[in-house]
């Protein structure tokens, strides 16, 4: 049950310093690129590019491995499941009764897995190098309503608190002799009710208290709110933005103007 509740790591790399708005834009553009590219080679290059950025962010290896474990499992699952539903094409590599594995289907499975890999890992660059409050502030700067931003910030902020609460609840029930992960599926489900109900009650009590606290500090009194720390684009930020746009535009031009198979 251990993990990293906050993906952010303190650092001073270029990726940490660049304006969060540029980072958000970059992540969105790279995601678009992952959708547009269709050849395995091109997607593999994109995935490698993302991995280089992850390395440049100097995120501790343990944290990277923990985060990418899930992505990797998902990719593996896609490669395994894809041929079950896609049996078209020649040549056939193997067949077991009704199960047929064809080369094109396998290729399509690996390609999709790589695309999903790109889409999942690219967001980690943002999460690894940007504090949550900066992400939220950048989103508000980009035009998202302030109260939506605050809601997002609060949910991110309370995530560690809530997971600690769940840990305590599980401890409390274990102290009453409850054994998790024992018994049949029905019993297991029932065991989790003993965690779920206190967790929901505790979350609702927290939310209730929080809303009183917000109101008592005059939340919502002014809509045009100001910030102590504001973002300002520097020339290096514009440069980074230009570079990211190029990374999107170059392959697109190659694919659609020059007809390259990317």
């Amino acid at each position: 049950m251990t993990g990293f509740v906050d993906l952010y790591t303190e650092g001073n790399t270029f990726l940490h310093r660049v304006d969060p708005r540029v980072k958000i834009t970059a992540v969105i553009l790279l995601s678009i690129l992952a959708f547009v590219l269709s050849s395995l080679e091109a997607l593999a290059v994109l995935l490698a590019f993302i991995m280089v950025l992850v390395v440049l962010s100097r995120t501790p290896l343990a944290k990277t491995a923990f985060s990418f474990k899930f992505v990797f499992r998902l990719m593996l699952l896609i490669v395994i499941l894809w041929p079950l539903f896609d049996r078209s094409g020649e040549p056939v590599i193997a067949s077991f009764g009704p199960l047929v594995l064809t080369e094109p289907a396998l290729l399509r499975g690996v390609t999709s897995a790589t695309r999903i890999g790109c889409l999942a890992t690219v967001w980690y660059i943002l999460m690894f190098t940007t504090q949550q409050r900066d992400i939220v502030r950048a989103l508000v700067k980009l035009g998202i309503r302030f109260d939506f931003g605050l809601t997002l910030a609060i949910s991110l902020r309370f995530f560690p608190t809530f997971s600690a609460t769940i840990g305590s609840i599980m401890d409390a029930q274990r102290a009453r002799g409850l054994e998790f992960g024992k018994g049949g599926p029905l019993k297991r489900t029932r065991n989790y009710v003993a965690v779920l109900i206190p967790a929901i009650v505790s979350a609702m009590r927290t939310a209730d208290g929080l809303s009183w606290a917000l109101q008592s500090r005059a939340y919502g009194a002014r809509l045009d709110r100001t910030y102590l720390r504001d973002f300002k684009m520097k020339w290096s930020d514009y440069l980074a933005l230009a570079a990211v746009v190029l990374v999107l535009v170059l392959p697109l031009t190659a694919k659609y103007v020059f007809g390259m198979e990317l």
Binding site: T2, D171, R176, G177, I197, P198
Partner: protein
């Protein structure tokens, strides 16, 4: 007078801890080196500032946490090698926040939950539940949903659910926090009854008045080790240690310290004692 723990003191040693060290994942050392013996029927107040390691120590006693090194023996069994449900039959643990465990539709079901998990027979469970409801004065609330009760009542439900499991040892983590004086005194009286029945009580608390009135032994913790282990009288006469641990002695003890020049002894722990010393002082003058 409870003598300081010494090894080889007969069979009534119910808890024995040797060189316990506990490090949380992530490297925070919560217990540096802790050894203690607790005898059956003892009433130990475990006190110390926040972050001194009280709760971590307590969780090592019922298997929720396993020692990083050192040995915890509960009634002769190595706690590190005993499953939590097995330990739960011996060591009951009432969490500070009752809401972390209450989830049933009625108080009675809530109290049944523990003994049911431990696999007692239906007759046995029924008997244990009745006893627990009686002990915490909850008979009139048995059909009420526990989450609708007041904090003091919810605490009593959570403690009753521990009593129903019939452990020899009760660990109570700040059971009086958030209760008013009346509720808190009533709860402490119930715990006293358990102790009189022969149960071993380990009370984690910040309230030195409760400690002076109920505990037989005070164990003061600071940064992961025991810095003082004595009866309440001895503990409260050492103001320096208490201050270092961010603990406040009972008001009557502070008053006695302030009257030291008038010949009042420093180890006064009850108003009656202070009155006694004051009157005697008056006579001799």
């Amino acid at each position: 007078m409870i003598p300081a723990p010494s090894p080889g003191q007969g069979d009534d040693k119910i808890i024995s801890v040797r060189n316990l060290r506990f490090t949380y994942e992530g490297g925070v050392v919560a217990i540096t080196d802790l050894s203690i013996d607790i005898r059956k029927g003892d009433y130990v107040a475990l006190v110390g500032g926040n972050g001194s390691g009280k709760t971590t120590f307590a969780k090592n006693l019922n298997g929720l946490l396993r020692p990083s090194s050192g040995i915890v023996t509960i009634r002769g069994r190595d706690a590190a090698r005993t499953a939590v449900p097995e330990l739960a039959k011996i060591v009951g643990y009432a969490f500070q926040n009752p809401d972390y465990q209450l989830f049933c539709a009625t108080v009675e079901e809530e109290v049944r939950f523990g003994p049911l998990n431990l696999g007692y027979s239906e007759d046995d469970i029924r008997r244990k539940v009745e006893r627990a409801l009686d002990a915490m004065n909850l008979q009139h609330l048995r059909d009420k949903p526990p989450l609708s009760l007041r904090l003091g009542e919810r605490r009593r439900v959570s403690i009753a659910s521990v009593i129903a499991m019939d452990p020899d040892i009760f660990i109570l983590d700040e059971p009086t926090t958030g209760l008013d004086t009346e509720e808190s005194d009533m709860l402490m009286q119930k715990l006293q009854n358990l102790n009189v029945e022969g149960k071993t009580i380990i009370l984690i608390t910040h309230d030195m008045r409760l400690v002076s009135e109920h505990a037989k032994r005070v164990v003061v913790m600071s940064v992961g080790r025991i810095i003082l282990d004595s009866d309440p009288r001895g503990a409260f006469s050492d103001l320096e240690i208490l201050r270092r641990s961010n603990l406040e002695p009972p008001a009557v003890t502070k008053l006695a310290h302030a009257l030291k020049d008038k010949g009042i002894p420093a180890d006064v722990i009850s108003p009656q004692e202070l009155v006694f010393h004051l009157l005697r002082g008056g006579e001799s003058r």
